[in-house]
Subunit: 308 residues, 4 copies
């Protein structure tokens, strides 16, 4: 997997908690700096290749970004019968947009990111991730506060909303993208078949946070479908929550998923598959229990944070 013999003294430290710390040996550091919003490091790891790190948290790596991005995007896109107008908050690498744009039903994708400097860095350094999606004419990039820009959209105007923000940390830019008030805006902007999905932090290290996001979304939409995926470079499983204005992703069988992907000319997937779609939503017993019993309704007044 790696040139293990080489002397290479640089490491990236990622903390799950104060007590579980991962060190990633680096080949080189392409960029380190602080934008108006966050610390940014673009590094090349021995085991995971090129990586984007925001405020010390790995966002995605060349080795497995497709695991995360396919799993974030396709269950929601497939659950919608015909996604035309899509909105994305976050996803600065351009890889979430890349996956959304695979669906040829999409006519417009509004991508909102708060941090212009991160976007510029990703455009310049992470071509391997965005694969030109920033130049796709169907993409409209807006630099601004995701919540404010979403709020300014007409009601009932979107088919799918994807929230790919950084984790909620104190002082970070994303805390108000995980609250009841935010999800109420999301729901209002969706059309009748509308679907939303959000990343929801680690299922283990921030299990309470994951459960709180789940519970808060459920309180707004009346339903919520939790699923997760193990992302190697995160050294953790990662949680997601999907919700719909009506219908359920669990109703779609393997054949229907295959049909939708084919109709939309979605091909070249490496993680997600028709066979996998329904299995994603079958959780182990303890996680079902945690989601139902832990957590709380998150509000703007009382946001939730991950425990680092």
């Amino acid at each position: 997997m790696s040139d293990q013999g080489e002397i290479a003294p640089l490491f990236l430290e990622e903390r799950h908690t104060k007590n579980t710390i991962v060190l990633h040996r680096l080949k080189r550091v392409l960029y380190s700096g602080r934008t108006r919003y966050q610390r940014v490091d673009v590094v090349e790891m021995f085991d995971y290749g090129l990586s984007l790190v925001l405020d010390g948290q790995i966002q995605s790596t060349a080795a497995d970004e497709w695991i995360y991005h396919e799993t974030l995007v396709h269950p929601a896109m497939v659950t919608h019968p015909k996604p035309v107008d899509v909105l994305l908050i976050g996803g600065g690498e351009g890889a979430t947009a890349r996956e959304i744009l695979r669906h040829n039903t999409v006519r417009s994708l509004t991508m909102i990111d708060i941090d212009q400097e991160v976007i510029e860095l990703c455009k310049r350094l992470l071509g391997e991730f965005h694969q030109g999606s920033f130049d796709n004419p169907r993409l409209r990039l807006v630099i601004g506060d995701g919540r404010a820009v979403l709020d300014a959209q007409p009601d009932n105007s979107l088919d799918v909303i994807v929230v790919d923000a950084t984790d909620p940390i104190e002082g970070g830019p994303a805390a108000l993208l995980y609250t009841r008030e935010f999800y109420e805006i999301v729901r209002r902007k969706l059309r009748g078949d509308g679907v939303m999905v959000t990343q929801a932090t680690s299922t283990f290290y921030s299990a309470d946070c994951y459960a709180s996001v789940y519970r808060t979304i459920k309180s707004v939409f009346g339903n919520a479908y939790a699923y997760y995926v193990w992302v190697p470079s995160f050294t953790s499983a990662w949680g997601f929550v999907l919700a719909t204005r009506r219908g359920s992703p669990r109703e779609l069988g393997e054949e229907e998923v295959r049909k939708r992907l084919e109709e939309r000319s979605v091909s070249g997937l490496r993680y997600y598959s028709p066979e996998l779609h329904r299995a994603l939503f079958i959780l182990p017993a303890y996680l079902n229990e945690a989601l139902e019993q832990r957590g709380r309704i998150v509000t703007d007044d009382s946001p939730v944070f991950i425990p680092i």
Copy 2:
């Protein structure tokens, strides 16, 4: 999750590779030593509680040993229509035995471990894990080489064989429990409905090793069913391979699994469930591809090792 404010300067280092290293902060160290076969550390982690570590690799922790042990044991046990005589290689903590013995069809469980000192330590320090299974009259504990003891059993005498050995590392005690010659012995000892299962190392950090184990078992049994589970304290997903003399675990629907568990009075599971059984065997696209295309047949002459 943890008393994060406390000063606590001890860490356990676990290496996935030379380039991905995890540090676990420790409350205390209950035991450190070297047996005839391996380095043993019994520690209490802040994030995972009491833990057994062999040759620097975490074997199981109080926080999530049930994730690993339930997933290792129950798919194989349930796949067999009526497991009566079971043999287990490894599993020194006694937790694998604990899960096997939940099935009241089991009349005899032969557990073989090479390292008496580890067994004694586990009996004494890890009551939370074995929960008395060492005292279960259906359990027969044999100290010895797992392969030799298995080879000495009559042919066609076992219903399920579970291999819960340490990872294959150079100089470690387990390298010859992952070879074609070994699996040929396993197959010969199984009765006509017999099922085997083995842990098969990390699906990512030792993907080639995982694929090789899969391919080697498939070459012996004519079939092999790979599955995996994310174990938080391993900071990785863990691979397993199940094989049968006839039949497939994928044929068992949710209702049949529920019926078998109920008939055998298996209750109190926290991870495995009837709903989950079939989903476990649905792998992401890339893993299906890796298992079919990577790896090689492993033989006694040319064993496989994990890359640390």
Copy 3:
């Protein structure tokens, strides 16, 4: 220096600051716990052997405790023309007492330590350090607050006072052993030829703290003699400050030091020597400058802390 090939996954982490962190690989952990006053770890390091660690800071190791203890004790003891009554605060390992008791002029050594549990652990586990000094009939061990016990001594009753406390950290037991009010007590208890010495933290990582201790002692005694020694296991140089009621350690030539050591039958020293005595007090230019220009007078109301 070490069995480098052996797998040994335990580390002690010592932080100089949040940005300079040292990891020491451990053979084993003999004890970990929390007394009423502090976290205690007794460990065996590969590179330094048996070690006492309090609140995450290495106090002394078998490999080099004599460097620290000889350098703390002998300059002060030798500077005094005839030390008979000596008082020691801290030094729980018993090694500071061991060095003091080498001087056969000493009739009584009062050793005060706040933490009975640490003393008991050291007696039991660190025989290599104390070498029986706890059983020396000239030693009187008092468990209690060092400052309070010292304050209860008669004025003008002591020849040498050695302060071997832990570093001043917030919430730690030693902060009030580095203030002007404390040093005023020290001075009052010394006889006319009296000498005091204290450890004074790292000369680099806590240079301001070192300078403050120096300046505070100088303000009380009218003189202060800074010196330091590099202690390998501290991965830092360590500072000391000596002060006298009259006279200066810099006035003692090599021959006079040799004569005093011989008269008192002090032998077997591994670090300190007559030739070295005066050289110890010759500091590099930057350290002279730092001591004179940095730091402040430390008071009970405004204690100083090291920056971890």
Copy 4:
């Protein structure tokens, strides 16, 4: 000392041995790469500022490079009554040259470094270190093998030779700069008052190496003067060995050193001083003993290496 609150996930790992490892938190990485000869990292540390790292070993940092460079250079330069022609092997940062050129007696300094890429990086990124010394008309820079270039000089043509090479590691570029054959060349090139000095690795982590260098030089010159200095960023004391064709650095008193520095207009020193000169050569008892009793004569056939 540092902005401790900032999230900054990059670290430099420096290994003293496999068992003592130091992690330095980084603000940023200015360069990482591999030249023909070695791995090069130029980083900015929180605690030590800008730093040059070769093959994972810190060469010098802004915070304390003057401690190392003054101590390497001035004892030898001052010991020589009038250094005119000086030769330097290594010292790519330009800071060793900077210190040599402070002595206005120097008419020519030949600096030889094997690694042109390192020199170019230092010129470009480490102005703080070389302070323009590369542009000094008295400096002649030669890219080449230090030993070969030295060997090509006329015999009896140099006053001072300074060896500031990297540590001897297997496969590294410097192993043959620490052997008897090399020191024989050095001696032959020196004039009758000639003085040489070399860095000699850590006094603790590579004590055998230090003693071997000392012993080897002594065998060639008939004398050798060991001294050392604690360099904070090395988290270790660093050894040096000085030798002369005749005379001893220990004969120079404080006044003579002051006079020589003044005559040569050497000013602005931060570490070395007339008072310190003689004290530098007074070693603790254990180090005197180690130097006399450990180590061996190093030859080209049997080089010495540090234990990493």
